[in-house]
């Protein structure tokens, strides 16, 4: 039986958000009676992540992804439920816990802005109490893996976004964390840099058996790294399972690609024609009718080639995100 590195049990976070109408009258009223609204950012979610597993944590903006990661990394106190990471309760913020995890936020800078990254790494060595004899080889290995040998001597402020992100990742992994919370680590990066970081995360996971919980709006990240995804929306979990199963649950249609002997025949009677590219025609048909439409095509048309596919993952995710808040 595999062991869970992360256990989330009915975890919730409620924020009290002050609010008032615009204008002077409302501002004056606010002096005497402050109005607040309760925002349930994370609503009693439960899931587990096995040791060494890489899980995609997906959801639209404001779904509760980052709030969950912040609770699991000890930044936020939960309003209810419990989270455990490597057996620790994150909110207690024990030194042993913080020394075993890392949280990389793509939009935040954690290195010293005015100094070369090497100085920040040295600071991390002291903060995480990394023995010197282990520190230097690991630092050099990570620097080499991410190919930033020349950059770590430049002040961080002079690095490009992608270069800085790679330098950030090295800094975040120097203490060899067993659990990585990656919050949009490839945001704003070009495709080459995204690919490089994806490969690095996969390599780190394979090399050290680290557990990874990854949020990203780039499906390429998720497809490359995660066999399993947890989808959160309006603070609740909508789906937890294999990435491949997402379409089964949420997509109401499949696509049928077909090539005919007589090229550009009109196939609109079989389903919605999405596009035609040379002899290849792509149709969208309701999931329940896929078998019957395929059978009709094969008997009624002179088919050279045919395949049935789930819709692209981006389209499925779009469908999931479009769901209304459940009551």
């Amino acid at each position: 039986m595999s062991e869970h590195a992360v256990v989330v049990d009915r975890l919730e976070k409620v924020f009290q958000v002050p609010e008032r109408d615009p204008g002077l009258v409302a501002a004056t009223k606010g002096l005497f009676r402050r109005k607040t609204r309760e925002v349930r950012a994370v609503d009693a979610i439960s899931f587990t992540v096995d040791q060494g597993e890489v899980v995609g944590f997906l959801g639209p903006n404001g779904a509760g992804k980052t709030t969950t990661l912040k609770m699991l990394s000890g930044l936020l106190y939960p309003s209810g439920g419990e989270g455990r990471v490597l057996g620790f309760v994150p909110a207690r913020r024990q030194r042993e816990f913080l020394s075993r995890i890392t949280l990389v936020m793509g939009n935040r800078n954690q290195l010293q802005w005015d100094l070369p990254a090497l100085d920040s790494y040295e600071l991390n060595r002291a903060i995480y109490r990394i023995p010197r004899e282990e520190f230097a080889p690991l630092r050099d290995e990570l620097v080499e893996l991410l190919d930033i040998g020349d950059l770590v001597r430049k002040p961080v402020r002079q690095l490009s976004l992608g270069e800085r992100m790679k330098a950030e990742i090295v800094g975040a992994l120097l203490h060899k964390p067993q659990v990585l919370f990656l919050d949009e680590p490839t945001i704003g990066l070009d495709v080459t840099m995204q690919k490089r970081i994806r490969e690095f995360v996969a390599d780190y996971n394979a090399r050290y058996g680290a557990t990874v919980l990854l949020t990203s709006h780039y499906m390429a990240d998720v497809e490359a790294l995660c066999k399993r995804v947890v989808v959160i929306h309006h603070g609740r979990i909508l789906y937890d399972g294999p990435l491949a199963g997402l379409a089964d649950q949420f997509a109401a249609y499949k696509t049928i690609g077909v090539a005919l002997e007589n090229g550009g025949a009109d196939l609109s009677r079989y389903g919605e024609v999405l596009h035609t590219e040379g002899d290849w025609i792509t149709l969208r048909v309701p999931k329940a009718e896929t078998s019957s439409v395929t059978a009709r095509l094969l008997t009624e048309e002179q088919v050279l080639d045919l395949n049935v596919e789930d819709p692209p993952i981006e389209d499925v995710i779009e469908l999931v995100f479009a769901q209304e808040r459940p009551e």
Binding site: M1, S2, E3, H4, A5, V7, F15, T48, Q51, T66, K70, S73, G74, L75, L76, Y77, R84, L86, G87, F88, R93, R95, E96, F97, L98, S99, R100, T102, L103, M105, N107, R108, Q110, Q112, D114, L115, D119, S120, E122, L123, R125, A126, I127, Y128, R129, P131
Partner: protein, 282 residues
Amino acid sequence: MSVVPEVAPVREAGRFRSMVDLYVTTARTAVSQQFQYRTANYFYMFGMVAEPVIYLVVWTTIADQQGGSVNGLTAGYFAAYYIVWTLVRNMNIVFGAPFWEHRIREGDLNRDLLRPVLPLHYDIAYFAGWKVVVIVLWIPLAIALSFLFDPALSPNAQQVAAFAIAIWGAYLIRTMFQEALGMLCFWTTRGAAIFDLWMTLELLLSGRLVPLPLMPDWVQEISRFLPFQWAFYFPIETLVGDYSNAELVRGLLAQLLWILIGLAIFRVAWRFAIRKYSAVGG
């Protein structure tokens, strides 16, 4: 549901040695960073000299008009007091309460909280490193002021030793109380009014505005029971005044007491404050 039950302790060197390493490394980082901004630091110090020079000119003029002294304090004493003042004032610049507002609002605290060390340690060590730069930059400034104002300064070895400790005591007292005060930022985003009130009290009761013997007796009495003078007047007087050895030791012990009181307030406030944190700003 299986959970990883036990976690072996992190392999680490001795706790004390690790903390010393953390402090030295952080301070070294601060020195590197602040030397990069040496020109800005110098201009900052020049700007800061304006305040004591004004006080010095005013009191020297009054002393001259009153036959050489005010309440027994001579022009030479004022010169010595305000020249030493410049260093003590610089030692008093710490991770202040308003910085907490910035740290929380901008989300910088997220980074600090992810580290397995209390942010207070980092703040103390970082600003201590900065102080090293300040002291180095202060020396030529003090020499120039001494040529200009002829201070009456002839401390003995015990006084110099006590001063060397007292300026760091002042630094720690002010750090503890400013950090404790900064905890208010977890409850309100507008702590500035409270910080200003605190600063006003500090200005009046610390010896920053005028040497405490020039204040009314009741003010001097009140200030004995508050932390302010131990972070300002006392360290200046260790070098400028005529404290006996026993008074020097008592003063240093009083500083230690205020450091511990400030630390205790901070620790209690921190325990409650961190539960209020909403980790905004990424």
